[in-house]
Symmetry: D2
Subunit: 289 residues, 4 copies
């Protein structure tokens, strides 16, 4: 009886652009019996730019053939000097969520996760406060309270790193975590930390964006999900959203409204990262939707 | 035979808040036989803030009774220390439109004006270029070419002022006019000059906002219609709009997309000002929609 | 020592339009020492139409003066043949939420309620399934499992009515309750039952709207919050929202996306009803925002 | 001296899905020296569905190599049973625009065309009225007045067909053309007639959708651009857009607001068709953005 197991793989690639890349990849996949279901490709400059591609393919028998593809893709990847990932669609990425006291982003992620809409595994939640401990634990997710003492921040970050080491973490989500991570810490997770900033960046960089927005009298209030880099609020933007406000909104109303933009922008960014849809291109992102 | 002529008036008011203002106004209107059709009122701080109100009323016989209302409202306005306007709905405001070379905002305004959607009278168009002279004149609108010589800007602005003096101008619209007006000029039209800025303010203040937006890798591109003050790009915001973009958009694509946000945001702001819906509150606006 | 207690009242009115209504109301409020903070008024037809108004006022001492206003408003209300409500802003309306198995709308309402964004008191949750019993009870909200047997629907509805009688219910929210309520039941709560329909009504009336939307190949997927009447999916619309989809979405993806439109449209409608912003005008709504 | 001319081609393909299609196409292009700049591919059902793909490639020398590619692609196309088009990016499609009396969609198309945003050549405008003759001719575009007599519709349509025969028409745009084309006529332009319907289809099919929307009390007003088929208002949807309205809008206000949704939805659909981004999939569309 033939093996009829069928599964999907997701290939994400960036490399210097040159003729023949698509042909090489699609030939390779075809020769391994893979069927391309979706693909999208982009070049940021036809002459001397970079090449970006996402491919979803099905293959059988699975996962044997998938593993073989993964091994044998190396020479092609080397030949074109690719940065690449090849992931099983049935393997959910492991995520650590960082929070402080506010729960709107956390709640949105938990709901989308529990409903099956957000394809991640939540390894643990880390917080510098205990406010949301019970909520997290009611979902049977490990909760770690790691307070940040201003005078002992390296120690706290080390404690976080040691905590994360217990889990096979794929990426981190800062779901309104009100602490700035040090360059040392960020270096452990390059393009793997997603933050939600509570403004339409680059407007209202820094503290109290809703207060700033109120003072400026804006008519739309926004939120920005981005990768964390060492330049505060300057990392590559993954998604932005806005909601309409008017003169009746005080600073607190803007904050309440903005929370709804925040949770939606963050949930989308996390979903897209989890589905291997995002490639960082210097200080920007390519998002294959 | 009784006079059955019926017309509408629009009353726009701001003053220090105190009890009894609505009662005084509505009593006054009722005693003059006016029927309130729409009204909206806002207080920016219930304790010691300012009061803002817009009332649309119908009155008959028209315009006799309207004129009487306008005269006899003075004591109430004085009593409450009001800044106010009382306009006939059937009198279209006279507008001068300022342009340079780009025509998208002009075209949108002209189309909405000709279709009857934009209740204004276009007195004239002023431009520092002749590029759009034929377009403007094909609508039988006077076109004035007043170039701006960097070394003789006061002279040019004087020429503009003398040109405008020929018309009963109510307000000015800078429809992508690529010149900065001097404080002297702006002082002639306080809260009466509407500009369209090609970014989602306060992001990307200054020159080349689309280039800035491209460099930053934003996912939404915006436009902001605001009153002109002496602080460049800092005047009270009337309306903002955004459109979604992605990694496939180069700086020129952002510009093309942004033009569509610009023309819509500007057209809305001009309509609302023309319909007496906007009151300036320090560096913000109250917009009664 | 003077009584300095200060509180707000919300007056919602509809009646046949005629001159003098605003004057009568604002005089009355002024004479009772109330200060109008926000007000909005609308007439659906200046000649012989209906009058709609919402007023928020502050009054002191509170609640003594508020109660006096409420009593003494009756003659005015009678004189103008008003349907009206006058509510204390500090009294949250009591709500019963009806659910079946799906939890997205429930979760959104619970989160907004717990965060203080949604000014309601949740008296109880009623469901024809036990699926979400634990979730509801984890919020310490009474949960009633009242299954609906097709052949004994009147009995089930009676059981629901008797359950609701234990609480001072102001309105009902059908948060994806997959049962059709009988005219008899609906008659107990006229314009007091809010339902979320999972389509952009009047498109895709009836069963399986996401399947219908998929078959039709729409590019936007929507949701509609409306009051329940005896005409299925035909009640007055309070709010609608849409989200963009594309050819990559299968029927299940539309459903997942649509859930996010549903929960936002429903949460807004419930908030607006709870804040006395909605008046039913025949088969439409006036929503004062 | 080598020929350095460089140009782009756009390949649009649909065929029954099977393994190896992407490999065959990309091999072929690579062997002909083409460099793929953008590509996107979709399968509507991984098992036994259809395959859809859009590729933009650059090639040199141009157009010699492009022409060679076009000729030599035939065997591949036959092998996979493809429906396909291969277009030069520098060749603008020729369009005939059909109008009646309303000018908002026409004006939007003309403005986008003149600004270079809309990559089409407008061969002629056909109208059953003379209302907009002068506007069209001011752009130096041929205008044909072909009235439709109810009792002689076949004759009128024949006249239209003979008029169109003078031009190398690629597709037709019904920019608020208030006539229903016969199946005979439509058969001449399969999936090549784009119409704008003034509602969010499938809501408000048929006549007077804004009146219907007003009666129903909707909170969003929409427009739908679709290909014309013989089922009125049932053709494959290309794009939809909505704008927010409220209880203050009467039926005429809905119409005015809706026009802005119409012109934007239509302009997008025309742009996408002109850029070879749309493939019809039975009664739906694949739109590669």
């Amino acid at each position: 009886m033939p093996d009829r197991s069928l599964g999907n793989g997701r290939l994400l690639i960036t490399c210097p652009d040159q003729p023949g890349i698509v042909a090489a990849i699609s030939d390779f996949l075809h020769q391994h019996g893979a069927n391309i279901i979706h693909s999208a490709q982009h070049t940021n400059d036809p002459e001397g730019g970079r090449f970006f591609m996402r491919i979803v393919f099905s293959i059988s028998p699975y996962p044997e053939k998938f593993n073989q593809v993964k091994e044998e893709f190396l020479p092609i990847a080397d030949h074109f000097d690719m940065e690449w990932s090849l992931e099983r669609e049935d393997r959910k990425k492991s995520v650590a969520i960082f929070i402080s006291k506010e729960d709107h982003c956390l709640t949105e992620l938990l709901w989308r996760w529990r409903s099956g809409e957000l394809p991640i595994h939540i390894s643990c939640v880390i917080s510098n406060h205990t406010t949301l401990k019970n909520v997290v634990e009611s979902y049977e997710i490990p909760f770690y309270h790691i307070p940040i003492d201003k005078n002992a921040k390296p120690e706290a970050e080390n404690k976080i790193l040691r905590t994360l080491e217990q889990y096979p973490i794929d990426f981190l989500v800062l779901a309104r975590y009100m602490q700035i991570l040090s360059p040392d810490f960020v270096a452990h997770y390059p393009a793997k930390i997603i933050n939600i900033h509570h403004s339409f960046l680059p407007a209202f960089i820094g503290a109290n964006p809703y207060r700033q927005a109120f003072e400026r009298g804006v008519k739309l209030i926004g939120a920005t999900a981005h990768y964390v880099t060492n330049d505060l609020d300057e990392g590559p933007i993954i998604e932005q959203d806005v909601l309409r406000v008017n003169h009746q909104y005080n600073a607190n109303d803007l904050k309440i409204t903005g929370r709804n933009a925040e949770k939606i922008a963050l949930a989308r960014a996390v979903t897209w990262h989890a589905e291997d849809r995002v490639i960082v291109d210097d200080n920007k992102t390519i998002v294959f939707l």
